[in-house]
Structure formats: C-alpha cells, structure tokens
Symmetry: C2
Subunit: 212 residues, 2 copies
C-alpha cells in the first residue's frame, strides 16, 4: 500500500516538475530581452528636445524652450537609427529633416558605413539634406528614372528594419499623420536588405553609360 503511494507521489512529482519547467521556459521565452523587436511609431510626433540623445548629456542640461526628458515617436526613431554600430542603409524619397540628418552624420563620424539611396528629383526640395550628407563624405546614390523611388525605409546593421509612410522631412515628423514600423523579424528584414542591394547596384554611377 505504502509503495503504491510512493509510486503515485513520485509520478505526480515528475509530472509537476515537467510542467513547471515547461511553464518557466515559456515565460522566459516571452520575457527574454533578445526576442525580435517589434514596434510601431505614429506621427505627428510631440515636440520635445532631443539634444540629450545626441550628446549623452542630461536632458535637463539643455536650455532650449522645448519640453525636456519626454519620450516621443521622433526620439524613439532617432534612438533606433543611432543604435547602428556597423551600417545604415537608407532608401528614402525625400530627406530634409535636420534632426534625422544629424543622426546620419553622427553615425558616419562614428565610423558606421552609411549608404543613402534617394530620388533625384527630390534632392532639390527646400532644405534637402542630400548635399550636406555628400559633403560630409557619405556615399549617396540617386535614382534618376522617370518614376518615383518612393521607398521610406532604413536597415540598421543588417538586422533592424525601419519602414512606413514617413518621408524624412520636417512636415512628415511634425505635421502629417504617418506611421513607422520597426522590426527585427528576420523574415521581414531579409527581403528589404536584398531590395536595397538590388537598387544600390542598379544606381551605381560607375555602371551607367555617361550620357544617362
């Protein structure tokens, strides 16, 4: 009788242990910080000072009249871009936002390999940053085809995709209703990396006939 009880107790113990291990593993899987990042950002962004994101000073040390220490869609976007440690591949129709330009220039001066692909017709918009990036030594290629190179995506370190409706302009960030999707899902990042390379190669000025 007592041995039968031992059998039952042991059996139940083993089942309980297996279930606990399983539950713990599922919980850890959900909580693990290394899981693929998925984030949605909506615009217009609230206005707030972003100086501390560039300078690593305390948010309160800036004396500008904007609100300080507030996390906004724009500050989150800047942080995602500035998280690059090896490469930034940017494929954007219109680029005139000074804050985003500052982020790209900061990455370049840190030694991050930056490649910018843009639409030729839109390099002449007021305040276009394309000339500024070129002068800083960043490699820029322009799509000169008669259709729009209408993408607005970036790939950070070949692992993080930033895409959506948002052009890199001031109106897009501060006025329009826009969305940006940030993801590390490899099934999503991979095709964008491939498409960037395809367009990058296609717009290599060295490979184009001189009359084009």
């Amino acid at each position: 009788m007592s041995l039968m009880w031992t059998v039952k107790v042991l059996g139940l113990g083993v089942v309980a242990l297996s279930l606990s291990v399983e539950l713990l593993s599922r919980l850890l899987h959900r909580l693990r910080p290394g899981g693929p990042l998925n984030e949605a950002l909506f615009f217009p962004s609230e206005l707030a000072c972003v100086e501390h994101i560039f300078t690593s000073l305390s948010p309160r040390s800036c004396l500008c009249p904007l609100p300080h220490g507030v996390e906004t869609s724009f500050s989150r976007l800047l942080r995602r871009i500035l998280s690059a440690t090896s490469s930034l591949d940017l494929c954007v129709f219109a680029f005139s936002n000074m804050g985003l330009s500052r982020a790209v220039l900061a990455l370049h001066s840190r030694g991050v390999t930056v490649r910018v692909l843009t639409d030729k017709d839109y390099t002449a918009i007021p305040g276009s940053q394309i000339g500024v990036l070129r002068k800083a030594g960043i490699c820029v290629r322009c799509d000169a085809s008669p259709v729009h190179m209408h993408h607005k995506f970036a790939v950070v370190d070949g692992r993080l995709l930033i895409t959506g409706s948002l052009n890199w302009t001031l109106a897009a960030v501060q006025s329009n209703m826009e969305n940006v999707l940030v993801t590390e899902e490899p099934d999503l990042v991979r095709p964008y990396v491939k498409e960037f390379l395809r367009l990058w190669e296609r717009n290599d000025p060295g490979q184009m006939p001189p009359h084009e």
Copy 2:
C-alpha cells in the same frame, strides 16, 4: 525489488511522455500553417492578369492580352486583401487603383465590414475611387485637417496588417519603386488597429461642429 523497478519504470515513463508531448508541441508550433505571417512585397509589380483572383475561374479562361497565371506583388497584395472574412479597415492617403477598388467592393458585397479613412484633399485626384466606394454603400470618412493623412495601411479581420510606402494608385503599383509589408505579428497589428480607431473616431462627421 520488483516494486522499486515499477516505481522507476513508471517515473521514467512519465518523464518520456512529458518530453514527447513537449517536443511534438514545439514541432507543431514551427510547422503550423497558422504561424504569424511575415511577407514583403516590392513594386512596381509585373503586369499580369488578375481576373482569376476575383472570379475563381481558371487563369487561362481570361482572353485579355496580359500574361496569365503569373504570381506578382500585385496579385499577392490582392489575395491578402481578399482574405478578409469579417472586416477591412483601410487608412490610405490616395486611392485611385481600379483593381484595389474592385477588391474592396467585392469584400463589401460579400458582407465584410469595410471602413475607409482617407485624406479629403486627395479624394479629387483623377480616377479617385472614394466616390465609387461611397456610392456602393461603404462607410468612408475623410480627414479634412490642413496636414496630410499620409498613412497607407490596412488591417484585415483585425489580425493582418498591410503597410508601407504604396498609395493605392495605378502609378504606385505599376511604375514607382514601393514596398508593402504584410504581417500577423500581434505586437505590430495591435497598435495599428488602435491608431485606426483613434483616427476613425476623430473624423466622425456626427461629432464635428457643422461649420467644420
């Protein structure tokens, strides 16, 4: 002695059973066709006949001069939209593409609840489909604010997000370089559902002062 063996055998049996169930469940989780969908579509799309997607006839039965039976970015986009069984929430800046309009009308006539939110200024573009949708009885709301309602996203059945740079125009589908991201990741779908509802409520004509 024999009872001790029974204990050990039973214990091992339970452990083996638990492990098998766990392994099987992991395997099924990986293989299950219902796992979160992640897909990237790039444009311009190849030109191909999409008649069979609407009519469920054989691709070869259409006599139009376009290539038949070819899967393209556009046909994939149509299929994703037409997969709706209960609802389609569409938030799009410019809508003039006849094929996409046909898909939305087909869903509406099937009894799918369609809600369309668009930018007022762009309802007057050549070939705008907004009037056509309205006449068919689809609920359309227009953002009349002075800034752009620049989104280009749709949520199918509250579970599938379609977003990117692509406006629902002919030029976007057939000429421009554009991207569309399709995902079922709940962490991505959820915020877009929420944003759609926020904008939908905000543009409720019943809640607006009559002079606006």
